[in-house]
């Protein structure tokens, strides 16, 4: 990693040059909600003044730039009683501006699952390699809990990360591409004061969290609480609408559909991002549904998010952005569900006897 400092004015020029010559996306205000708060999304940007650098959080994550909500995986052509499969991994280069540390952590988790497993995803790889990710730090929002997940800072998975130190940005440069781009702009090596400012900034972020979730031993607790009534309680609230998984930066489950072309001389295999809360997520051939109950479907989302699967070494995949909690119309959020589960456990512990004596 190389560290540089750039004035905000010069930074603006740098970003402007970048977005003017590349297909770029950054946070933009798209609405005001009924409480008067700005709603942001990662949207196309064509000049630097379109970017809301002071944004709070985007309603949806940046996941879809790497895992589109819908994509054609392959195409089949039928001819002379035979067939031919066509697969392309074309991904147009994109510049993504303003991702938070948690968003980038989510990409690193997706890398683990989709690139480092037994069957790497070529389309994900193409998109990941063809993206230029610029991260920006921020002071935590009232409901951010990424510190609990240890994702409030990030050291890898981006090209450039910008920490706000007043009149300047403290740049962590993580790729030769970013280094070469920046060479055309005025930067300097960080001095003692800059380093102090960076430490101060990090402290402010670190100490700014109002929401914390105790995730110690959570995978074990989830295992113990497999039959907890807590799941049914929260499941009863769930609308099964899949919103949580759609806005999540790390949910990657999907459905696969193969369909004939209307001409019948070909077919297409299409992938759609799905959610474990959707009613037919666990329906198998023949129509049996392994998870017909709402509470079970919700439980498995928490299991995947907070206990992890073998494919990512049982690491939690939740990064603590709370987008799911904000978007859930039924008021279901990780903090309340996990605390509820812990309460369940703790109330049981009060009646337990003291530790077994040594024999």
């Amino acid at each position: 990693m190389i560290y540089k400092v750039i004035s905000k004015k010069e930074f603006t020029g740098f970003i402007d040059a970048l977005v003017r010559s590349n297909s770029s996306f950054g946070p933009r205000q798209v609405d005001n909600d009924l409480r008067g708060n700005a709603v942001y999304q990662f949207q196309p940007v064509h000049s630097v003044d379109e970017i809301a650098f002071d944004y709070s959080a985007t309603a949806s994550s940046a996941k879809h730039f790497f895992l589109p909500f819908q994509e054609e995986l392959s195409r089949f052509l039928f001819h002379d009683g035979d067939w031919e499969q066509q697969i392309t991994y074309e991904a147009n280069p994109v510049v993504l501006i303003g991702l938070r540390a948690c968003d980038i952590s989510a990409l690193n988790i997706l890398d683990d699952v989709l690139l480092n497993g037994h069957f790497p995803s070529p389309s994900y790889l193409a998109r990941r390699k063809n993206s230029f990710v610029i991260g920006m730090d921020h002071l935590p929002l009232a409901d951010c809990f990424c510190k609990s997940m240890n994702h409030h800072t990030v050291t890898t998975g981006f090209n450039l990360f910008c920490s706000d130190i007043g009149d300047h940005y403290y740049l962590s440069i993580n790729s030769s591409k970013a280094f070469s781009f920046l060479r055309e702009f005025e930067t300097r090596d960080p001095n003692y004061d800059d380093n102090c400012m960076l430490v101060e900034r990090r402290k402010r972020i670190q100490n700014g969290f109002q929401t914390e979730i105790d995730v110690t031993a959570l995978p074990t607790i989830l295992d113990i609480e497999f039959d907890s009534p807590v799941w049914e309680k929260w499941g009863d609230k769930c609308l099964n609408c899949g919103t949580c998984a759609m806005v999540c930066p790390s949910c990657y489950c999907y459905s696969l559909t193969e369909s004939f072309a209307t001409s019948l001389n070909g077919a297409s295999r299409e992938k759609k991002l799905y959610s474990c809360n959707l009613v037919d997520f666990a329906v198998v051939a023949g129509g049996h549904n392994f998870r017909p109950k709402k509470g079970d479907r919700l439980k498995y989302r928490y299991y995947h998010q907070h206990r992890g699967f073998a494919e990512n070494a049982n690491q939690q995949i939740c990064v603590g952005c709370n987008r799911c909690g904000r978007a859930c119309l039924a008021g279901i959020n990780p903090k309340d569900v996990i605390n509820d589960l812990r309460m369940e456990k703790e109330s049981c512990m009060t009646c337990a006897s003291s530790s077994p004596r040594k024999i």
């Binding site: 709603v39 099964n240 759609m246 959707l278 119309l329």
Partner: protein
């Protein structure tokens, strides 16, 4: 060569907009028509034959002569399709059922003799083999289903609600803008065409599978949204009739 589907399209109490969708999506229209042997479809041809296998029924039933005609079609058709929201649920026409028939005639056709019945959905009268909801139907979905019928593969509609498709378009949730939207309880497949244009979903595709109406009512109440507005929206296409007895 595939065997073409011997198909006929019939309109009842409706605007004929769903049938018109059959001629939409020009890019694949020749391929689409290539799968069909159109026996009866007055919007595109004056030729009429009575030997069809598949009957698309558009509209709801609101007159005795419609009942007779529908029963006759049912006898001929191997597969009878409720085509569009009116056929599937009664549709907007069902608003008629809120008032006594006589009052309606006096208002719309004062002094005239009109023979009319309360509006019914197709499945109130005949067995329906396939439902294709939508106001209007989505041509992509119709195309996919026609291809499934030609190839003998399973016909499926999305089981999940509109929110999935709405979120994929990064639409701001209409509840966040203070509106009541039926997206969370309505069957997807429309690609969230209304909500992504900032118009709340009125549920034209009917309820998604195993919806949680109790939680949905709770959400409307908790946000202190207008319960009359909710009832009006649920009743708009008559698609949520089985769920409307919930205490609101």
């Amino acid at each position: 060569m595939v065997e073409k589907l011997k198909i006929a399209s019939f309109d009842f109490t409706c605007c004929e907009g769903c049938q018109l969708q059959l001629t939409n999506r020009e890019a694949t229209l020749p391929d689409f028509l290539g799968l069909l042997d159109v026996r009866n479809f007055r919007e595109i041809s004056s030729e009429r034959y009575d030997d069809y296998d598949i009957a698309l029924i558009e509209g709801s039933i609101s007159r005795q002569d419609e009942v007779d005609r529908l029963l006759k079609i049912r006898k001929q058709a191997k597969i009878l399709v409720a085509f569009g929201t009116c056929a599937c649920f009664g549709g907007v026409n069902s608003l008629k059922n809120k008032l006594p028939v006589k009052e309606l005639i006096d208002e719309v056709y004062p002094g005239m003799t009109i023979e009319t019945l309360p509006v019914r959905k197709i499945s109130d009268l005949v067995k329906v083999d396939l439902f294709i909801p939508g106001c209007p139907v989505d041509k992509r979905e119709v195309e996919r289903i026609v291809v499934n019928l030609v190839k003998g593969s399973q016909v499926k509609l999305p089981k999940y609600p509109v929110c999935v498709e709405c979120k994929a378009q990064l639409t701001t949730c209409l509840f966040e803008l203070g509106e009541i939207c039926l997206g969370p309880v309505t069957r997807a497949g429309c690609n969230a065409v209304c909500t992504s244009g900032k118009t709340p979903c009125l549920g034209c595709r009917g309820p998604a599978e195993e919806i949680n109406m109790a939680a949905f009512l709770e959400l409307v109440k908790e946000r202190r949204l207008n319960l009359d507005d909710l009832q009006e929206k649920l009743a708009f296409y008559n698609a949520f009739e089985p769920f409307q007895n919930h205490e609101a």
